[in-house]
Symmetry: C2
């Protein structure tokens, strides 16, 4: 008997190895997904439309993702990770200034800058709502993560504050919601208003909350 499956698969093609080609196709689908989901929306997206946009055959779509939902998840993760990473590095850069106002400004500016591409804003702010349970879970795990970042940063700046974890959670989630709604409003207005105005307004919510809690903690301590 000779070996079965003696096919020599995995050779190079177009000057690229199999892995390189796979990776390239993966990226093409990510790009196409951002374009399609970000303009036509996920609900009206079809496999055929997506493959046309990616300039790839259907078969490769199934090889790379298997379903539109998984592609949506991949696109979202990809974009959100970029934004999150940018925000965190931007904030850590100005962290030594100890200037809360400045830190809030920088963080929010970075956030809104990441959403200046309407397709990214559409996918990251609105398209993930109400797709499926899996997508919903992913979505809210990211929101939770963002919210927790706020709490831990506040704990760093105001170590004396005594606030229950539950309350931190609600506060962080609410702040994320404020940012999200502002960004969505910006997107729907076709970016009519200045980014600086957006940052200025949302920063007031952050700073107001901080000041409010600070005052509250002071009175709590004095009693």
């Amino acid at each position: 008997m000779r070996k079965q499956n003696e096919t020599k698969s995995g050779r190079t093609y177009g000057g690229l190895t199999q892995e390189q080609r796979k990776a390239a196709r993966y990226k093409q689908f990510l790009e196409a997904g951002l374009e399609v989901f970000g303009t036509s929306g996920f609900r009206s997206a079809t496999v055929r439309q997506l493959c046309r946009q990616a300039k790839l055959t259907d078969r490769y779509f199934y090889e790379a993702f298997g379903s539109l939902e998984l592609l949506l998840i991949a696109v979202y993760k990809c974009q959100m990770d970029i934004i999150q990473e940018r925000v965190i590095t931007a904030i850590t850069e100005v962290l030594p200034s100890q200037d809360i106002q400045h830190i809030a400004d920088v963080g929010l500016t970075t956030f809104f800058t990441g959403l200046e591409d309407p397709r990214i804003a559409q996918v990251c702010m609105v398209e993930l709502e109400g797709v499926s349970l899996d997508v919903s879970d992913l979505y809210h795990s990211y929101i939770n993560n963002f919210a927790d970042t706020f709490s831990s940063m506040a704990g760093l700046f105001y170590p004396s504050w005594k606030i229950a974890d539950d309350e931190w959670k609600i506060l962080g989630i609410s702040l994320v919601g404020a940012m999200r709604q502002a960004a969505t409003y910006w997107l729907l207005s076709n970016y009519a208003m200045d980014k600086k105005a957006l940052v200025k307004a949302t920063a007031k919510i952050f700073l107001g909350l901080i000041e409010h809690i600070d005052k509250e903690q002071a009175t709590m301590l004095s009693t």
Copy 2:
């Protein structure tokens, strides 16, 4: 020639006039829509499923709404109008107290109370996102409306404040976003935390913002 369409339509049936029956079916579909959209979600809803839930024939669905999208809009409007009306009346009742803290508490409590039914919360907080342009427009017109309510109430309480309309808009929208995200979090946690805790936390955001602006306006005035 004798008259065409001489059919005597519109007679009573089951003890109800035609209008009463139509209204009853309309209501049945609204109820079924809330149930289906609020549990399975709009994306997976079908006409057949909906009619089964409403215990009515397909034909009446087309007579009453014509499309799932129009039904979704009707369900949303119906529920949001109820909530909005409750919030406004609750607030106007405690308005004479001039106690901002109390007013915020009452308003937020009424809001979250209106979302204690998970189906209502699902439809009003998450299902409308990313359905279609029409639905999106409606959705954000309601959000805008809510946001404007905040601005006008603040203008009533703090007539001396000088704040541009654009900024009010962003602030109001962001506050709505905060409430929305908190409510969604509540829903997804299966209403794990106490409503009072939710109100307490979100009220801090409102009060903090008010105090922040008040301080800012004072310093603006003194310069």
